[in-house]
């Protein structure tokens, strides 16, 4: 049976790609937090990334592949599961599942919509050209990413978009970060609760750290 057709095979693909994406947002978060160390720190981080040259494109292609698999199978599984449950109960009750587990496809789609906006905003830089690094004066010969980021998040609309999207990401991670342990068959009866609790803590830490960036810049606590 084909890995891409099997119910367990696709579940494993969701877990593995999800795990890689968690790895990506971990590195991305560490890079982003450099904004709190001032203009030099984040500008230097941006320069290092740019200096990787063709490697950046290799990385982008890998990311595209991961997202494609994760999104395609995520939506496909959601549609199949909907079709398997045509009728609701008059009294609908759940015992242990969570809001985040039930809304994975929706939080996932919000994150996807955000991702597209985020790429247009900071990578392609066409949504707010007046404050995009490309149109700002160079600092010591390289792009002024710091000013682009701070000016962007001083805009209430942009900051809110980022904050809402990061809340969706937090909810997505609340289920996802611990789920892969079960999917890859590593959990045992007694370890599952601990893994789930740990996953939620990690998700909250990630979520809050990501939210802190637009929030603190919007509130002008960091300038």
């Amino acid at each position: 049976m084909n890995l891409f057709k099997s119910t367990v095979g696709r579940k494993i693909l969701m877990a593995v790609t999800g795990l890689c994406l968690v790895g990506f947002i971990s590195v991305h978060l560490l890079g982003n937090l450099s904004v709190f160390w001032g203009a030099d720190a984040i500008n230097a981080y941006a320069k290092h990334l740019h200096d990787l040259g063709p490697l950046v494109w290799v990385f982008r292609l890998i990311m595209l592949g991961l997202f494609a698999v994760h999104i395609t199978f995520g939506i496909q599984l959601y549609l199949e599961n909907r079709a398997a449950t045509p009728d609701n109960y008059a009294v609908q009750k759940t015992l242990v599942t969570t809001f985040s587990a039930k809304t994975m496809v929706f939080t996932g789609l919000i994150v996807l919509a955000f991702l597209l906006y985020h790429l247009l905003h900071f990578t392609v830089q066409i949504t707010n050209p007046e404050i995009s690094a490309r149109n700002l004066a160079l600092v010591d010969g390289h792009l002024d990413v710091f000013t682009m980021v701070t000016k962007s998040f001083q805009n209430v609309f942009i900051a809110l978009v980022y904050i809402i999207a990061m809340i969706a990401l937090l909810l997505h991670l609340m289920h996802g970060i611990s789920s892969w342990v079960q999917t890859l068959g590593w959990s045992t009866g007694s370890s599952q609760d601990k893994v789930t609790a740990l996953g939620k803590i990690v998700a909250i830490v990630y979520g809050l750290a990501y939210i802190a960036i637009p929030l603190l810049l919007l509130a002008r606590i960091v300038k």
Partner: protein
């Protein structure tokens, strides 16, 4: 005690069906839930009405026939208890009770509270067995099986195949049921030779029968009248991963 029942009535598979309300008077707390329904049916029959059709057989919690969602919970509110072993002392005077059949595409309603669970048999036929030559009874302890392994297999074998896991699952996935069978047989020496074939065949049958995919909600474990753990789903996932590796006979 006096109760108000809202029971799903459906004439046949093609009928749309709806909830109908019945008063249940003078219910004894010592009655089982099914005995309470027997009394209601007695009353309906005396009035010349069609009694409520529901599945039941052993009435001692081991056959897996009773299948009712009571106030949104498969088998009702008592943990690790089938409907037949649920007693009316769990309820109090004036309670409203909603009784519905298992709901899943793979479990079409036959009549009222009875659903067709043939799809679970189809999953079993796909690999929920051990192929062996019949013959004399083997000597005791021919297969040395460590006690923890025997216990593990026994825990999985507790599954009575009632379908509560599917009724509780937001995706109507039969993964807990399937995993209990896969894990039980994969843990024992008799089941190992066919383990690779079994996990693929049974999970394939699960999808073909119209069940959903497992997305780790764990509602199944919470609803299971036999307390089957989702650790068996992790075991099934491990068995699937193992089946992806080539074996020496294939290479």
């Amino acid at each position: 005690m006096d109760l108000t029942l809202h029971v799903w009535r459906q004439k046949g598979p093609q009928d749309k069906g709806k909830l109908e309300t019945y008063p249940a008077k003078n219910v004894s707390p010592d009655m089982s839930f099914l005995e309470m329904l027997d009394e209601i049916n007695d009353g309906l029959i005396r009035q010349g009405k069609d009694p409520i059709a529901f599945d039941h057989d052993c009435r001692e919690g081991i056959c897996g026939m009773c299948s009712q969602v009571i106030n949104g919970r498969p088998h009702g509110k008592q943990e690790q208890t089938t409907v037949c072993q649920l007693h009316m002392r769990q309820y109090s005077d004036g309670d409203e009770i909603f009784i519905e059949p298992w709901r899943a595409k793979a479990f079409p309603v036959q009549k009222d509270l009875i659903v067709d669970r043939t799809s679970l048999d189809v999953i079993m036929q796909a690999g929920g067995y051990v192929s062996c030559h019949t013959g004399g009874v083997p000597d005791a302890n021919v297969h040395p099986i460590p006690k923890p392994v025997a216990d593990y297999a026994m825990d999985a074998a507790e599954c009575i195949g009632c379908g509560a896991c599917i009724a509780a699952c937001p995706n109507s996935s039969a993964m807990l049921f399937t995993s209990a069978k896969v894990a039980q047989l994969a843990a024992l020496p008799q089941g190992k030779p066919e383990a690779r074939k079994r996990v693929k065949a049974m999970t394939e049958a699960l999808l073909d029968e119209g069940f959903g995919n497992c997305t780790n909600h764990y509602e199944c474990e919470a609803a299971c009248p036999k307390g089957i753990s989702v650790k068996f789903i992790a075991k099934l996932n491990r068995e699937y991963l193992k089946s992806l590796m080539p074996t020496s006979t294939e290479a």
